[in-house]
Amino acid sequence: MLSSFYHNAKIDKKWSLLTILIILLFGIPLLTILLNLFSGPGESWEHIKEYLLLDYLSNSIFLMVSCSIFTLILGVIPAWIVSTYSFPFRKLLQWLLVLPLAFPNYLTAYAYAGFFDYSGIYEQILAKFFEVDHISHIDVMGIWGLACVMSFSLYPYVYLSARSFFINQSQRQMSAAKVLGAGRFKAFYSIALPLARPAVVGGLLLVVMEVLGDYGSAYYYGVSTYTTAIFRSWFSLEEPETAVYLSAQLCIFVLFLIVLERGFRGRKKYQFNSESTYRMIKSTSNAYRQIMFILIIMIPISLGFILPLIQMLYWASITFVDVWSTPFLTIVWSSFYLSMITALICIFISLFLIFAAKWSRSHVIERLSSLPVMGYAVPGVVIAVGIMIPTLTFDKWLINMAKDYFNYSIEFLINGTLIGLIFAYVVRFFAVAYHPIEASIQKTGIRFDQVAQMMGVQKWKRMLQINIPLNKLGLISGVMLVFVETMKELPLTLLLKPYGIMTLSVKAFEYASDERIAETALPALFIIMTGLIPIFLLNRMMNI
């Protein structure tokens, strides 16, 4: 097969090899982990299988299914409303809908636990304003609570992909439906929804991956998930090989999901005539409906943003002085630039892989090029270790080489440096940039690239002058999503961050693991605030 590849003049070798090289680079941590699938689990595997696995698996499956349903409801309906109807505050609301993304979901989970805690804000309000004698306690700390709380912070993934689809969707199909006598509602579920399916499924995939990778919230809520099994076998049972084995299985499962999603999209590459993709005309609806729309949209915003924010603000107000005394702005800045660099590298590589795969003219390469998205499915800790093991070998080799041959003493090049940390971030969050960019390119089509190609324009120029400007929105949403994700990332940062660099999430974690949940509020608020900047920018761009 390799030799037929090599001898096939039809395949562009330069682009194929570059693509393979990048895939391999991404593959290092994943392969390190997947190879363990063959070396098998450790001896405690039997123990895990007998006592834990069934329970953990069913919890994970429950969370995946329930979060998918909840985020679909919370995401698609508002996306449709804001992109179809005109009503007061529409622009503000469609912006607010994205804000829960700025909350790391473990912080949302903490906030909800605090809000509904014994004599938390919720019970105080009830006691104060309704003079209820016996307050029925709402226990969010269970599997249903976890599913709800995670959905509240994850629905923007579905919302964003659905909205960007609805906004840019073809006028024609909708007009056609209207002419056929379909009302807006019928047009929604019979035309817009099926057409939006690839985009929405892409958003759902992100939600499911996020749910699978979560550890912080589930741990705090006392729900054991598949990821719990990884942590437990690693740290409690001291069997990294079993943990890595479990991670490998998780990877396989996610790969399966990705293939499934591909199948879902199927051969249906909906090509939209670029000339006819302008915004849908907003119908002015009556006052009653306008109020109804605003109320509907306020539900996810309140649940995902306002409520946890109130809790955080309350906590921040009682802990501000204490936490502010630390050198806070330095921490904010290092979080900011780490996230920005990561985001830019992610979109650069996404663009590269998507186009290099096309330019390689090889179906095999094109299939392979989306493999790196698997990194997103692997819990941060596993990636960190997957990177640590091979890069340490590399670093040690490098140090020995430098010592033996050049008599020169050097430090670790990758481990415990920014390079290692950013590499890990990129491996982890690549999918977050790749999906919106790929969706955007799928929508714009590669027609424009082909036109330019036919005019004899070389690849770099096409990239800079045609493909990047035309997919600006997809690229910006890619940057934004990766940025926010990196800001929030915790376990990987903990393991790989260099000396002297402190990020907001690590700071928040320090407080949380010290059971000083209230003190997490200030770093949390900063994560949220820095997360708001790109969300704001993105929104400006999308509204032009």
């Binding site: 006592y51 306690h137 270790v385 670093d395 440096t417 920014l418 000396y499 209230a518």
Partner: protein, 348 residues
């Protein structure tokens, strides 16, 4: 094409430059004395203490903060090249694990042997306890009296059905408590004990030690098994509600007639491949000194290990207690058996 490759080359040079300049800076610092501390502790007073050490001995302290398990893993992976000099954990079990994994080296320091009582340090001097805490029973003062309580084992009695709050078995403090049960009573009895506690639980285990006490205050149950310092933290919380919860809690040190209450330490060891061994020893000695101990233990409402150091008024108010003199090395050795037993009885 050519133009762009030049631009990219230029960017790469810039990137490499910035990387190497930052490592130059590190090298510059190398001329100064320094130690690298891997620590699971992250309390503000710790940092002040480190700063004080820096000032007094002119040795720079670099801190890597993370979970002990992750730090151990990091050291394992880094091997001989590990920059770590000192490992600080908040649990003796983890220090013992680090020792088993051959990540620590034995230290022969008279200062340390005199400052740290024998059962609170490793026999071979691989690690030394620095602060100690007890895992005790707290009870709702309005519903439970002291004389209803006696031992950990007595909590399995039917009178506490649906009354006990304790966090999940993934928590290291529970694992260490269980390990001490196994060491003192044997696996079989320990397993029965865990099953008995599970039977009496007021709800399935979740949340933190603080959450257990909050639930006691809210009447979900009557008793909780928590570490002493969490009571101190509640009492000193910025949140008035948490303070009120703290005030409602009574502290009971169990097994006073017998082996004593289960204790655990946070402690430190010198890394096997420590590049700055002498400084590392100085650092641990410093932390065990009378002056440092007071701050180091009070930062987290813990008890100092150094017997000559006075305990804080709050801790005094809880009274003195008899502590389980079991060598803490056992906590590490038996940790895995503890976890396996927890899983077998179904304690989540």
């Amino acid at each position: 094409m050519k133009k762009y490759s030049i631009v990219i080359f230029y960017l790469m040079v810039l990137l490499l430059n910035s990387c190497s300049s930052s490592s130059n800076k590190e090298k510059f610092q190398e001329t100064q004395q320094e130690i690298n501390v891997y620590t699971h502790r992250h309390y503000a007073p710790d940092k002040e203490l480190f700063a004080q050490f820096e000032k007094e001995l002119d040795i720079k302290v670099n801190v890597v903060n993370a979970n002990a398990d992750e730090l151990i893993l990091k050291m394992e992976n880094e091997g001989e090249k590990s920059p770590a000099d000192v490992l600080i954990t908040v649990d003796a079990g983890r220090l013992e694990r680090a020792k088993e994994k051959n990540l620590l080296q034995p230290i022969n320091s008279e200062v340390l042997t005199s400052n740290v009582p024998k059962h609170l340090r490793d026999v071979d001097g691989h690690w030394f306890g620095l602060t100690k805490r007890s895992r005790v029973i707290v009870y709702a003062k309005d519903r439970v009296t002291k004389d209803q309580l006696s031992t950990y084992e007595a909590l399995t009695e039917d009178q506490w059905m649906g009354k006990i709050l304790i966090r999940s078995s993934g928590n290291i403090y529970n694992q260490s408590l269980m390990a001490s049960m196994i060491a003192n009573l044997g696996e079989e009895v320990a397993a029965q004990w865990a099953a008995g506690i599970l039977k009496n639980m007021a709800r399935s285990p979740k949340g933190s030690d603080r959450d257990q006490m909050k639930a006691v205050a809210a009447g979900v149950g009557d008793l909780a098994i928590v570490n002493t310092y969490y009571v101190g933290k509640l009492l000193n919380s910025p949140d008035s509600l948490e303070r009120r919860v703290g005030q409602q809690m009574g502290i009971f040190f169990p097994n006073q007639e017998g082996r004593g209450a289960h204790i655990n330490v946070s402690g430190a060891g010198v890394a096997k491949y420590s590049p700055n061994k002498a400084n590392a020893i100085k650092f641990i000695e410093f932390l065990s000194s009378e002056a440092a101990q007071e701050i180091f233990s009070s930062s987290n409402f813990e008890y100092p290990v150094n017997p000559i150091v006075k305990i804080s008024p709050l801790l005094q108010s809880w009274g003195t207690f008899k502590e389980d003199k079991l060598s803490l090395s056992n906590l590490g050795v038996l940790n895995k058996s503890a976890v396996l037993l927890f899983d077998q009885v179904g304690w989540k």
